[in-house]
């Protein structure tokens, strides 16, 4: 079965239909997605500002102790609401370049965050390479957000 057929099947599913046909379900899930997005952005930003030395004096390892709970929770909510949004219109998404850009950048952002950024922060890494990793991680998440917004315009 091709990927396109899979998309058609998901679109025809009960869950997809329910979300698509409801007046308020899609907007409600989308709003939750955006609130979690703000939480993720905020928690990563506050750690990044500390690493880059822009205004925050608190050591990043200290910030990480509290901030990583928020970023983890935000990622979980984002993934759940994101899947629900996708399930309601997979055929449309299949044809949108922005969607695939978002999925690829999302994979990169998740790998960067959980396998590079977080472990380095836990170890209290600093210096030019840590700043580089920080800039790349933020860039990856910004690409995800912008590609996501672009799905709506394309």
């Amino acid at each position: 079965m091709s990927l396109y057929h899979t998309a058609q099947n998901i679109e025809a599913s009960a869950l997809g239909q329910t979300i698509r046909e409801s007046t308020w379900l899609f907007p409600a899930i989308e709003s939750t997605h955006l609130l979690a997005l703000a939480l993720l952005g905020g928690s990563i930003l506050i750690m990044s500002l500390s690493i880059l030395g822009w205004g925050l004096k608190t050591p990043v390892a200290e910030l990480y102790k509290s901030a990583h709970r928020y970023s983890n929770a935000a990622v979980i909510v984002l993934l759940i609401t994101g899947v629900l949004l996708g399930v309601s219109e997979p055929v449309k998404l299949y044809g949108r370049e922005a969607f695939w850009v978002k999925m690829i950048s999302l994979s990169i952002a998740l790998l960067m965050t959980y396998f590079v950024f977080n472990p380095l922060v836990r170890r209290g890494a600093s210096g030019a390479s840590m700043r580089g990793v920080t800039v790349l991680t933020i860039a990856a998440w910004l690409t995800v957000a912008m590609a996501g917004r672009w799905i709506g315009f394309s």
């Binding site: 007046t23 907007p27 989308e30 709003s31 955006l34 609130l35 703000a38």
Partner: protein, 79 residues
Amino acid sequence: MILIAAINIAVFTFKVERDKAAWDLGPVPRKSKICAVISLSAWACVIVFGRLIAYNWFDCDSITSPTMAELTGCPLDPG
């Protein structure tokens, strides 16, 4: 909501945080917690309502109650 957030942070800046040096010594004052709750709620509403602007809640097609028809000036679909 943006106005509420702005007033809230003005009150916080000029009234509430004056004695913030003492906050580390004891429990955080209640008035500062109230400001924090107002701030978080107001900005969450800014995000949610901002997103909801994009939807046509008042499309005549989706109006089914007589009250809403009256308010929006839409003809009520008899079917």
